[in-house]
Amino acid sequence: MAMNYNSKDEVDGGPPCAPGGTAKSRRPDNTAFKQQRLPAWQPILTAGTVLPTFFIIGLIFIPIGIGIFVTSNNIREIEIDYTGTEPSSPCNKCLSPDVTPCFCTINFTLEKSFEGNVFMYYGLSNFYQNHRRYVKSRDDSQLNGDSSALLNPSKECEPYRRNEDKPIAPCGAIANSMFNDTLELFLIGNDSSPTPITLKKKGIAWWTDKNVKFRNPPGGETLEERFKGTTKPVNWLNPVYMLDSDPDNNGFINEDFIVWMRTAALPTFRKLYRLIERKSDLHPTLPAGRYYLNITYNYPVHSFDGRKRMILSTISWMGGKNPFLGIAYIAIGSISFLLGVVLLVINHKYRNSSNTADITI
């Protein structure tokens, strides 16, 4: 890459047959660009120009921060750990792998009612969904309904590529380890038997994922036929075409599956499980009161020190509960305001001192 002019000069020294080349003027063009005199805006960052910026940042950020903070604080959220490692926990019995299926129930109380749409999440910790071996262990072509990939999944899926000489559909570690606890929520009314809360299964995945990225393989009348020649992932109880009874939520386009397939960024994460839709404006979606959570405990996390949680949360215009953003905005706004003040002082002091310095020199 040594770009020097040598070679060019040699070439220029070139035409030997034509003696005495025409002496053209080497005078350079007088263009603004070539003379480096293009008109330009020449901003200088001085205390004078920056000071107002600091104050403006302060003035804008602090209100935004307060707004976010208040909004975030208004969000109702409850988190229930049902791992069952504590002996007192009702799910403690489910820790031993022998009990299958294992059911446990956890009671909890909502102090305040949850208004608007409520979201139900499951949360896992110490679960490395972002491990490289795990992240790449999937075949997007297979999930997109490519029939050749269905029967011959990508090598990335190893060691969850084939089982008993049949290709696994969906292949890979992610799919294989899909979360399979079932959570049900009941409101214990004051009087009668507990009322189950309607949990909506659909609308929890990205629209594009469900409609574009994930597709069931073509052909066949029934879903089962379409998946012919494949076998279920080792850890699954049912094959992929039996994930749900609703044909629009079955197979690869099952939303629980799609949500699981979007690997989390951090080892502690939560994933959307169900929606609880607001029924009417008059009644809160989840009124304050006692509830219990029915868990079909299938998913083992004890072996890797993991924890399982169920989270109920309302949302605001800016998403779920997140105090960080609000606090950060307030902090940065204040710092910036403070810096503005400091700069103002320095600017003022410096001017005075510089005057005297000039004269003594």
Binding site: M1, G13, R26, H131, A265, I332
Partner: protein
Amino acid sequence: MDCSLVRTLVHRYCAGEENWVDSRTIYVGHREPPPGTEAYIPQRYPDNRIVSAKYTFWNFIPKNLFEQFRRIANFYFLIIFLVQLIIDTPTSPVTSGLPLFFVITVTAIKQGYEDWLRHKADNAMNQCPVHFIQHGKLVRKQSRKLRVGDIVMVKENEIFPCDLIFLSSSRGDGTCHVTTASLDGESSHKTHYAVQDTKGFHTEEEIDGLHATVECEQPQPDLYKFVGRINVYNDLNDPVVRPLGSENLLLRGATLKNTEKIFGVAIYTGMETKMALNYQSKSQKRSAVEKSMNVFLIVYLCILISKALINTVLKYVWQSEPFRDEPWYNQKTEAERQRNLFLRAFTDFLAFMVLFNYIIPVSMYVTVEMQKFLGSYFITWDEDMFDEDTGEGPLVNTSDLNEELGQVEYVFTDKTGTLTENNMEFKECCIEGHVYVPHVVCNGQVLPDSSGIDMIDSSPGVSSREREELFFRALCLCHTVQVKDDDDVDGPRMSPGSGKSCVYISSSPDEVALVEGVQRLGFTYLRLKDSYMEILNRDSGIERFELLEILSFDSVRRRMSVIVKSATGEIYLFCKGADSSIFPRVIEGKVDQIRSRVERNAVEGLRTLCVAYKRLIPEEYEGICKLLQATKVALQDREKKLAEAYEQIEKDLILLGATAVEDRLQEKAADTIEALQKAGIKVWVLTGDKMETAAATCYACKLFRRSTQLLELTTKKIEEQSLHDVLFELSKTVLRCSGSLARDNFSGLSADMQDYGLIIDGAALSLIMKPREDGSSSNYRELFLDICRNCSAVLCCRMAPLQKAQIVKLIKLSKEHPITLAIGDGANDVSMILEAHVGIGVIGKEGRQAARNSDYAIPKFKHLKKMLLVHGHFYYIRISELVQYFFYKNVCFIFPQFLYQFFCGFSQQTLYDTAYLTLYNISFTSLPILLYSLMEQHVSIDTLKRDPSLYRDIAKNALLRWRVFIYWTFLGLFDALVFFFGAYFMFENTTVTNNGQIMTTSTHMIFGNWTFGMLVFTVMVFTVTLKLALDTHYWTWINHFVIWGSLLFYIVFSLLWGGIIWPFLNYQRMYYVFIQMLSSGPAWLAVVLLVTVGLLPDVLKKVLCRQLWPTATERVQSPCPTAARRGPHPQEVAFTFWNSEEYATLPPTLGPAQGPLGSSLSRGCPGSGPEMPV
């Protein structure tokens, strides 16, 4: 570097040649010599094909690849690429393969294109028709078929097809004129002489009958050296042996002029011609910036390796618990499990290396190369550096050193032709103490009164009248001036002769001035014809002298002589040379008067030459003749023998007189030197001239001032005292002064400090440089350097070319390793130009050799000011920002990746998608910095020119010091932490989520790891680009376009990349990730917040530094608030301005230590008037 020589050698040995011989024997016209002569070893010679192309069609790819991967950086990236291919790494090989492929391809295409051009040029050259003689007939053939020994005919204005021995010409006197413009750029006509015994052969038949052999040395690249001899076999048995020198050699590439045709025999063909041997490129110079860049690279390489090591170790510590290494949900394959632990650890280490390798980006090299290459055009385009008179603009011979122009600490300048115009004018002559001044010349016309001489002294007597005429004759005869007798008017100067115009051409302007001067005094040199020199004397009579010998000038002897025979048969030797080389050889004459006159003239800045003569009796001449003949025939050590012979001949002279020629200062030389000194650059003048002349020039160009105390370290002084004493005394004087200087500076009374100038001559220098027996030579050198350091100006006179280089080397290798610049215009400056860090050639009168060997060539010395103060300054700040910024943005880029490893189980999971990894350096952040590094002007051009002291702000590689580098690195680390943990906290407690109002109703979705990376990446691209925007001080529309354009491009690309299911990819992980992120409110808020936080510290640092510790540059940049406020207090203003005047005249030895607060005041206020852009 000597690749063609090596090639020749290889060729030779491959051809089965056992013994490599020092000389070659050529049978002219392929005729075998008569039997009985010595048997020569037949040698094979290459044909006349010129191959300047490096590659052939077939070997292009392998050879070019080999060449490219020899560069250490390319090799590093190749290794990374191979590692990615071989082992299972987190990023696809595309990420490093694609940029590498891009770089390699672009370079290959560029080199291929250049090579294609070369092939074309080669072909054109090789197929040129050439006339040669075969069997007495003229045959036309292609040039490449020419063989050594062929007899070639060349017509006027044709270029010689190979190196020829000049046999005969159509001119009767056996001479021809040649221009070597394409060889060394000298457009003057040079005369070459045919071999005496063959110059009679004028027709093809005759020349075909020639029976001769030529013996000559093997080809060597020196254009001006050639030794050989020719044996001409007549019918007699004894061959005639004649010496051959460079005057008999016609070089390929030169053009025949003024001669109808010539015959010559080819002796060097093809790649062995001197022109081809001179194709070799000069040694590569590396700039200080490049050196610091390499150091930084090593630092980053260490960081890279330590990061990889840390992560590998942590990975295995973390994995020691089996449930972490292999939890049930994430099993390994069988093959993975069985792999050896150490092998696994090693592959993991490599994988981490690959993951973090972007910290040393390929694109930095490309960008730096592009910046240098494109940036150097600004020099050639600069109109201010274009010289109207000569029609020459600046030339850039290498773009590697642009930024070095901003780092110069020492300027070594030649005097003649560089500081002075080399436009000589004969001022006066002094004959035996009588001074003659020729008439003032007005517009090339002698004023009409005809006496011709103004006698200042009383009129001379009869004998002195004779002496006087002898003196004028001596001046008329003792030279190598040619008369250009055709009516071409493009000649360099018309002599103001009486009606008849003759143009004198010479390689030395002094000689032309002398001959012209003598013409005005009545003696006109007419021409050289058939070895007779004709002179028109005062009485308009023509005198003819037979020219017997010329003892040509060389810079070691510093004199030349001619031996002529007058019409009356007397033989004279006239000798002309520098006083120091003439006086010791004089035995008679009014030495003292002349010496005093010479010294007086020298002090006035005139160039003096002494003229002496001696009368030879025929026997003496015979002896001389034999001596010269013997030495000239010698094949080995001819130079040395000649020098000895000359020494022997030129002695016992009689002094006639002295001449004085004025060499005017170049325009604005003083201004330029003053500016350079204000910029903190030490200017040394190195000249071959005598001390007094040189000192006078130094005074004239303000290198020395009246207040300067001169210290002399000359031969004369050393003769009085020992070198040791002189040195110690000087150092005591100087150091005492500098000690008191420090004190004075402290107490603020520095105005009256002494400023020293040192004068040293060549002899004294060689004494200092000479290693002593006990090996303690360094002692003197150190002492000498100490003295030099404390002198504001140094003048080295009486320097031989090599000594100039020696001085440069001495300073270059002294312990501060200052950056040196050498500027000169003549061949004698080439060695120092090559030696210095930056070599600048002045495209001057003494030919183009200096310009050809330099790194940059400028038409005039005054252009050095803009070259250094403006271009150098700009290039330096541009490239240093470029380098620092590149490292910064890659720290920002890679450090989050490193942090992410702690959260993904050290599994080498990438944070960003492959496309973003690849394109970050190639397209998202590449153009803004490239444009910045081409366009940035932190201060306007005019300010830089007006205020040279700004140059001190960047001295000593100021912007690439460790402190600055560490600041940038920490800024990068800080930003990386902000990006990563900002995103981390956003994600940790759930909920950068999308409430999806836009997409569907009231859904609320979760983001995965790719969105996390996307958020970090988006914040990063914006921060890094805006950081550059904050650093940009010069926003042209191009900057706006590129900066906002690249942000826009990033967004458009991301929309596109995530908007489509890409059929050729086997993963779709980025599908809709960016768009989903954009539809989330908190993500927007986070981006704004994190970008602000990322930029805040840098803005704060900038503002605080500017406010509290402003550099001179920053003071000039900002509108001066003090001056503005002082408006209503005129007294104060006056006081300040007076103060600043003081500063302006202060000598530069104050050094940069005087602090920014001090002197910068004077720069800031007056310069920043209302016209300053704010």
